[in-house]
């Protein structure tokens, strides 16, 4: 695969509606390799929907999605205008790892099996090689000793770290985090954020929908503030957190940071 691209991920005028409810309005975003972008904003702003549209868990209504400068999907008025052939699409989608709010680990498989499943089944890799890599990943998220446990025996924070290792096992170029700490008890949030921080420092391209303002401030290269289906404001953490321009951003940050 060529590394000759300007943006690893780019959207142009992406819109999405559920019935008459417009969730995303004309969202354009360009992501460079290695960038860490945090998306903040009030509930119902469309943050999760936007993230889920990127890896096709939701179908956009109109707009274009580019991956590595290639037109991945182009839809207008709920009809597909242009797209890559299915196999090529599938291949590019594997470059996006996703971490969910509710972990979504496979409960009937052990931690190690959870991590190994997709590389073996989807990428058809050798079991021994995958297991070795999986153990390294589990060590990286601090869960080496839990390899043979079932997810139900783990705390929420541990489950989420397994979910991160599971996504990383596919060697993705971009990681999408959909409110990864929102379902966790407060004292478990730290461990997950530490893993995410290390991941960001290692040069991974990341898109995080999050309510952890401290994390966004510390780790993000760029912060997007979304409200009512649009990107209301965008800038460095410094700009957004200390000197927000839009009224909507100011009131949101006041409300969140006071609490």
């Amino acid at each position: 695969m060529s590394d000759n691209y300007e943006y690893i991920l780019r959207t142009e005028h992406v819109s999405k509606h559920f019935g008459t409810l417009e969730v995303l309005k004309d969202i354009s975003l360009s992501v460079k390799k290695g960038e860490v972008i945090c998306i903040i904003g009030p509930s119902g702003a469309g943050k999760s929907t936007f993230l889920r549209s990127l890896n096709q868990l939701e179908k956009i209504s109109s707009g274009k999605i580019f991956i590595r400068d290639e037109l991945f999907l182009h839809r207008e008025n709920d009809h597909t205008v242009d797209k890559l052939p299915k196999e090529k699409q599938q291949e590019l989608l594997l470059e996006m790892g996703m971490v969910f709010q509710r972990f979504n680990l496979f409960p009937h498989k052990t931690v190690l099996q959870n991590v190994c499943e997709a590389p073996i089944i989807v990428r058809k890799e050798k079991k021994e090689a995958v297991e070795e890599r999986a153990k390294e990943l589990l060590a990286r998220v601090g869960l080496s000793d839990k390899a043979n446990e079932y997810p139900s025996r783990l705390s929420g924070g541990q489950q989420q770290r397994v979910a991160i290792a599971r996504a990383l096992a596919m060697n993705p170029e971009i990681m999408l985090f959909d409110e990864p700490t929102s379902a966790l008890d407060p004292e478990l949030v730290g461990d997950v954020l530490t893993v995410m921080k290390e991941l960001a420092e290692s040069g991974m391209t990341m898109l995080c929908v999050t309510h952890e303002m401290g994390f966004a401030r510390e780790v993000a290269d760029r912060v997007l503030f979304m409200a009512d289906g649009i990107i209301a404001e965008e800038g460095t953490p410094e700009e957004i957190f200390t000197n927000p321009k839009a009224e909507r951003t100011k009131s949101f940050l006041n409300a969140v940071l006071e609490a």
Binding site: Q90, F106, I121
Partner: protein, 338 residues
């Protein structure tokens, strides 16, 4: 690991071991065929001795050996009709022509016949269990296909599955059995027994069994479809999303992630379906298969013994209890991750 497994089942192993031991002891102490026959009346002894040296047999001996207890019935034909019955138990032979021993003897005899002892698989409880087990296996396979059809994105598949389920749940199993056994070969011009070589004495039974299995499996498939569908739909949507995000296709998601999780949720309902089929299997009396029910009915009609239905009920209960335990064990095994 191994010793842990043994300890877990220690109680069950001890109970089973004691039962087996008692049965072996009772079996050894039980008087054998020759011993029972040697205790018959002097007249009967003479007849038996005469038969031994003659090509023309006048004594009919029925000997039922039920592991711990035995039952012999002797009757003669010819000028002087005699009939005698005996029960052999714990080293003693008891006359069973009247009183409590008569009832005991009858129960042993009926149970022996309804279990299909001394007969091939096409008889008695063996037939019932074989038919039920195969029906459930094929029913689940068919039901899974129908369930996937019913939740499919393709309208045609959804409607086909829906119509199939509607038809088989909406008509009586007995008539479905008649259609498979009589109507289908009638239209297509074949006979079920012709599926087996003419030299096979059991061809008629085997043909009827095949027809019954097909009818039962088709019917059970419709019920299992609903069991499988509701189990699949009870799985959290996040499991589908996680699979998709990891790049798995529909078939991989279903076979590796969704169906394995659904299995555990299906087991209580499949267990229920199994018991229903076990009882529905008695409908094969209508195509002259010799299952527990048919045999008990035949005994009632030919020998007028109204007590025969009591051991019939007990046999059904024992089979149900046995499979109930097995399904419980399977459910536990599949729940290990919860």
């Amino acid at each position: 690991m191994k010793s842990e497994g043994i300890r877990k089942y220690l109680k069950a192993i001890i109970v089973a071991g004691v039962i087996v031991l008692v049965c072996i002891i009772l079996g050894i102490l039980k008087p054998g065929r020759d011993e029972v026959l040697s205790r018959t009346s002097p007249e009967m002894q003479k007849m038996i001795d005469a038969d031994a040296n003659s090509s023309r047999k006048r004594v009919t001996v029925t000997y039922n050996d039920m592991l711990v207890i035995s039952y012999a019935s002797l009757s003669t034909s010819g000028a002087k009709v005699m009939s005698e019955r005996y029960v052999g138990f714990l080293g003693k032979v008891y006359p069973a022509d009247e009183g409590a021993m008569k009832i005991v003897g009858q129960m042993v005899n009926y149970t022996y016949r309804m279990l299909g002892c001394g007969e091939n698989l096409m008889h008695g409880a063996k037939l019932t269990i074989l038919l039920t087990t195969l029906t459930v296996i094929f029913g689940i396979l068919l039901g899974t296909i129908l369930a996937l059809g019913k939740i499919s994105k393709h309208k045609v598949l959804r409607h086909l599955s829906g119509m199939y389920i509607f038809f088989f749940r909406g008509t009586p199993l007995l008539i479905q059995l008649f259609v498979v056994y009589f109507t289908v070969p009638g239209i297509c011009g074949f006979a079920w027994r012709d599926l087996f070589p003419a030299s096979d004495a059991e061809a008629v039974y085997k043909g009827a069994f095949t027809a019954a299995l097909i009818a039962f499996a088709l019917n059970s498939g419709a019920y299992c479809a609903e069991i499988v569908r509701s189990a699949i739909q009870s799985i959290d949507k996040g499991q589908f999303e996680a699979s998709k995000a990891l790049g798995m296709n529909y078939a991989q998601t279903m076979t590796r992630i969704i169906i394995p999780q659904s299995v555990r949720r299906m087991i209580p309902n499949v267990s229920n379906e199994f018991i229903m089929i076990l009882k529905d299997a008695s409908l094969v009396f209508a195509i002259s298969l010799m299952d527990i029910t048919t045999i008990s009915k035949n005994i009632m009609t030919s020998e007028g013994s109204y007590l025969v239905f009591i051991p019939a009920l007990v046999i059904y209960l024992v089979i149900t209890a046995f499979f109930g335990i097995i399904f419980n064990k399977i459910e536990k095994k599949f729940s290990v991750y919860e």
